[in-house]
């Protein structure tokens, strides 16, 4: 990853921006059941393999700054929400994600189905995803 950042840096003009958009490493996707006036948290998805990739990305970004290739222009987190109509759509949703895909922690999928069976009419499944942007500037 460090090599990829350095390689991109070689083709940037001085002061040019290197932008990394990626999932947030510690704020994992959160699943909840929502209905008018209520929101019931169910679980956070886990993805140990991908966590390692994200840690490596953070480490590479820090290293190219430390080694003087870039300066840090800033970083910011954001989130977005996706709504599913029923639990069976979770499978389709997870299959859309490039591997390694997140998964439910042990017992959480069963909890989703159990809680869904008691959910009021009009309920939806809410998936909250978190992302982070880091922007570096190439040194002169």
């Amino acid at each position: 990853m460090v090599h990829a950042l350095q390689r991109a840096g070689q083709r940037l003009r001085p002061g040019g921006a290197l932008i990394s958009l990626r999932p947030h490493r510690t704020w994992r996707p959160a699943i909840a059941i929502t209905a008018p006036g209520s929101r019931l948290p169910v679980a956070r998805l886990i993805n140990p393999r991908f966590d390692r990739n994200l840690r490596a990305a953070e480490s590479a970004l820090e290293r190219v700054v430390r080694e003087g290739w870039f300066t840090l222009a800033g970083a910011r987190s954001s989130r977005y929400r996706i709504y599913l109509q029923r639990p069976s759509q979770m499978r389709s949703y997870l299959e859309l994600i490039t591997p390694p895909r997140p998964r439910f922690p042990p017992g959480a999928r069963a909890s989703l189905y159990r809680l869904w069976s008691r959910a009021p009419a009009g309920a939806r499944i809410e998936v909250t995803e978190y992302l982070v942007i880091t922007v570096l500037r190439r040194r002169s």
Partner: protein, 103 residues
């Protein structure tokens, strides 16, 4: 489908560009995108950019990106199959390098 929209695991259109614009603008800039996939994000900012070189190692994704590009008649994007290793070390400099969900 969710609420009549196609199910997607990616952020809604515009969210990532709003985040980017907090730090830098891609308008009239030369942009290098590494790991562009099917061009989902590329095709959002390309209409405002001066030139985009976007590549991805997956041929099927690049074919899809090129098809979308043709549909939108965007002439300022060069989609290529490849990785950053294959990027020539020399050439006109870029104003921005974007790793969108690919680092």
């Amino acid at each position: 489908m969710t609420d009549g929209r196609l199910l997607s695991a990616y952020p809604p259109d515009g969210l990532e560009l709003r985040l980017i614009e907090r730090f830098t603008s891609l308008r009239q800039k030369r942009v290098l995108e590494i790991g562009c996939g099917d061009g989902r994000l590329t095709l959002q900012y390309a209409p405002e950019a001066a030139f985009v070189l976007a590549f991805d190692p997956d041929r099927a994704s690049i074919d899809e990106a090129a098809w979308q590009q043709a549909n939108r008649r965007l002439g300022n994007v060069d989609f290529r199959v490849g990785s950053i290793e294959q990027l020539p070390g020399r050439g006109a400099p870029f104003d921005a390098a974007l790793f969108g969900w690919s680092l």
